[in-house]
């Protein structure tokens, strides 16, 4: 339904594209093919993200099997960067200069994308829908060739800050965060939202390293601080440890947890579903392991895709549904481009996505962009773990 409105709306753009002869000579595009590049860690200590690349590749395979986009098949070249920024630069330069891709899609990692940020914008090659929640990808003035996809961590932290002000004003708060750009974005978001009152609310800040085996000591220190509200910016392994340790030592704060760890399969189950009761997070995706979506048509669409294209993939891994959603967004942009697949037009269309509903996103959450707003997903909803499933509460929050 909505798709049709989008398509009719695009008639004009497609028509204008036809009068531009340059379109045929666009790099990475032929009559039958669109070349798309990608980097992701398939090796090294972040190789768990490799599944996103696999999902991207499988999704484009599905599109190709269905006849491609406007008669063009997608040639998806995905390369391993081992999560090392230097390698990302090398691989991206290969993609741009040697393979001559039309655009770079869904490259993963904050440091990795930072390393190529300037390069992509100097070369004027689209760097679309990068897999990182840093805020800086939505800067149309400074970096008009780069765009994120997921809600930024900063935005998420601001949502928690508001919720804390509304519901728990005056209570002592504590923050535990991973000591890297991911964790620091939450710190930054809370500081943004609370301004000079930040230190009044958050009396205890504590970090952990991604290489730490456990965060038990940190949790003990947090409890000791007397905090009644905790925000945790941690990856699933440590979120699960935080939940379990807090429970074990009899500490029951109001717990706002980064949605990076929202997964039931990866966080809640390992921690113990009964220990996680009451944990609040803000979601934008449907968690494949949440029983609420067991018979959801949207998730079933994803499951059917998994069954056919990644039959050995772990259905508990949210990386697959993430890849599905982000690839769908990419395909939408290419469809919108019509026959004008110049890099300028690809960027222009990417900046003009009119409410795209993606089946793996929560009801009320959608993808939309404007030339001034390069944050494709801006809605989130607070959700609380009940012991069996997440229960969304309050309104869908639009952080536009």
């Amino acid at each position: 339904m909505k798709r049709r409105t989008v398509l009719t709306g695009l008639g004009g753009i497609a028509a204008s594209a036809m009068v531009r002869p340059a379109a045929a000579a666009t790099v990475g595009v032929t009559k039958t093919e669109i070349k798309i590049g990608n980097t992701i860690p398939y090796s090294g200590n972040a190789s768990s993200y490799g599944v996103i690349g696999k999902a991207d590749a499988a999704y484009f395979q599905m599109i190709n099997d269905q006849g491609g986009i406007n008669g063009r098949k997608i040639n998806f070249i995905t390369l391993d960067d081992g999560y090392a920024p230097a390698k990302t630069v090398e691989q991206v330069r290969r993609l741009v200069e040697q393979d001559e891709v039309a655009l770079l899609f869904n490259s993963l990692g904050t440091a990795n994308n930072t390393a190529i940020h300037k390069y992509m914008n100097t070369k004027k090659v689209p760097q679309l829908f990068v897999s990182t929640g840093a805020d800086k990808w939505g800067d149309p003035k400074g970096f008009p060739w780069t765009m994120g996809w997921q809600p930024s961590y900063r935005t998420e932290a601001q949502i928690y800050a508001k919720a804390i002000l509304e519901n728990y004003a005056g209570k002592k708060c504590a923050l535990i965060y991973q000591n890297d750009d991911f964790g620091k974005d939450y710190l930054g978001g809370l500081q943004d939202a609370l301004g000079k009152d930040f230190e009044k609310h958050f009396t205890k800040l504590i970090t952990y390293e991604a290489t730490d085996p456990t965060v038990d000591s940190q949790v003990v220190a947090l409890k000791d601080s007397g905090a009644e509200v905790m925000v945790s910016a941690a990856i699933p392994k440590f979120s699960a440890q935080i939940i379990r340790k807090a429970y074990d030592i009899g500490w029951k704060p109001v717990h706002y947890m980064s949605n990076v760890s929202a997964s039931v399969g990866a966080t809640i189950n390992p921690a113990g579903p009964e220990k996680a009761v009451g944990v609040i997070t803000s979601a934008y995706q449907k968690d494949p392991t949440d029983p609420e979506w067991a018979n959801d048509p949207g998730m079933n669409e994803w499951r059917a895709f998994m069954k056919k294209y990644i039959p050995d993939g772990d259905l508990a891994d949210g990386g697959y549904s993430f890849g599905f959603g982000v690839s769908m967004t990419m395909v939408q942009v290419l469809k919108q481009c019509g026959d004008d697949l110049s890099r300028e037009n690809i960027m222009k269309q990417a900046a003009n996505i009119k409410r795209l509903d993606v089946p793996v996103l929560l009801p009320g959450v959608y993808v939309s962009t404007t030339p001034d707003n390069f944050h494709p997903i801006r809605q989130m909803q607070l959700t609380r773990w009940t012991g069996k499933t997440y229960e969304r509460f309050g309104k869908v929050i639009d952080a536009t």
Binding site: Y42, G82, K118, D180
Partner: protein, 317 residues
């Protein structure tokens, strides 16, 4: 004939290494080759201390990081030209190496290996530490601008950075070669193989070991500086323990106690991961591991020693 090869071989190699890429390599390939030079210097540094001097270090990524950060900070914060950062980087890394070398002296074999390994693990968090993040940019890192060719030379930035790196690399390799083939090199090897005899010969082992550590750190640090200039970006998570392990692999694969081994090792660590990635998206790490193990079986002493044996056999024939 053989003597000619050994004398003119390196010269020919340098000329070819400079000319061929300029003529044929794309910007991306030049970038790869620049990284090879940076890695070769780093592996060479490691080789000096581990291969020649027998002090096993699994933490040379730390010196690489220091070199890279010195260059990045000077270029970004103080607008120092890229070439001028190299001597500073060399001095800073040498001092850093000297300071680390002092306790390292007391630690033999496996203890030194594991301590340096721990250092490598600690590097990212030290770089992120809040007291210095005004300089280092904290978790965000530093983005720097790539230098253009000077004097209106008709070269692209990639070509110029490559040539510059190659020149620095050749200089440093020549330095290392003189070092290890001279009195100092003999002393280094003597300390590795016959520490007691070396002491009896009047070699001040403690001083030598720390100086070797410092020199080694300097080489690796300059490698890091060159890489920073080429990559145009440094961040704490660019210098994880994996980097130190990579250098170690480069040294072992290339050939310990071999100047040329560093070049082979650098080629290996730059290109073999790409091959592994090409072969399998499912488990490139496994492929890389298998290739690495296979190399150790085929050339347990490294590529350099394998080639040496082949050449010896050819010479006999």
């Amino acid at each position: 004939m053989h003597a000619h090869i050994t004398r003119f071989g390196p010269l020919l190699f340098i000329v070819l290494a400079a000319v061929l890429p300029l003529a044929f390599a794309s910007g991306y390939q030049l970038f790869q080759l620049t990284l090879v030079v940076a890695y070769a210097l780093s592996v060479l540094g490691l080789n000096l201390v581990t291969g020649y001097n027998g002090q096993v270090s699994l933490g040379h990524g730390a010196f690489y990081a220091v070199g890279a950060y010195v260059t990045a900070i000077m270029m970004d914060r103080w607008d120092v030209p890229y070439w001028a950062t190299l001597p500073v980087s060399a001095v800073v890394c040498a001092v850093f190496g000297f300071l680390l070398g002092m306790p390292a002296l007391r630690l033999g074999g496996v203890y030194l290996a594991l301590t340096t390994f721990a250092l490598a693990v600690a590097v990212p968090q030290l770089l992120k530490y809040k007291l210095i993040d005004g300089w280092t940019g904290g978790v965000q890192g530093i983005t720097i601008i790539k230098p253009d060719a000077p004097y209106d030379l008709p070269l692209t930035s990639d070509q110029w950075v490559y040539l510059f790196s190659l020149a620095v690399g050749v200089l440093m390799f020549a330095l290392a070669s003189n070092l290890v083939h001279g009195r100092i090199g003999r002393a280094m090897v003597a300390i590795r193989d016959q520490p007691i005899a070396a002491e009896a010969m009047g070699i001040d082992i403690a001083r030598f070991k720390t100086l070797t550590f410092a020199t080694s750190a300097m080489f690796t640090g300059i490698g890091g500086s060159l890489a920073a200039i080429a990559v145009q970006f440094v961040s704490p998570d660019s210098f994880t323990v994996a980097l130190s392990v990579t250098f170690f692999v480069g040294m072992v694969i290339g050939g310990a106690a071999s100047i040329w081994g560093a070049v082979f090792g650098a080629l290996f660590i730059e290109f073999v991961p790409n091959i592994a990635d090409h072969l399998s998206k499912a488990a490139p790490g496994a492929i890389y591991g298998v290739i690495l193990i296979a190399f150790m079986f085929l050339a347990p002493g490294g590529i350099a020693s394998l080639l040496r044996r082949w050449f010896a056999r050819l010479a006999v024939k």
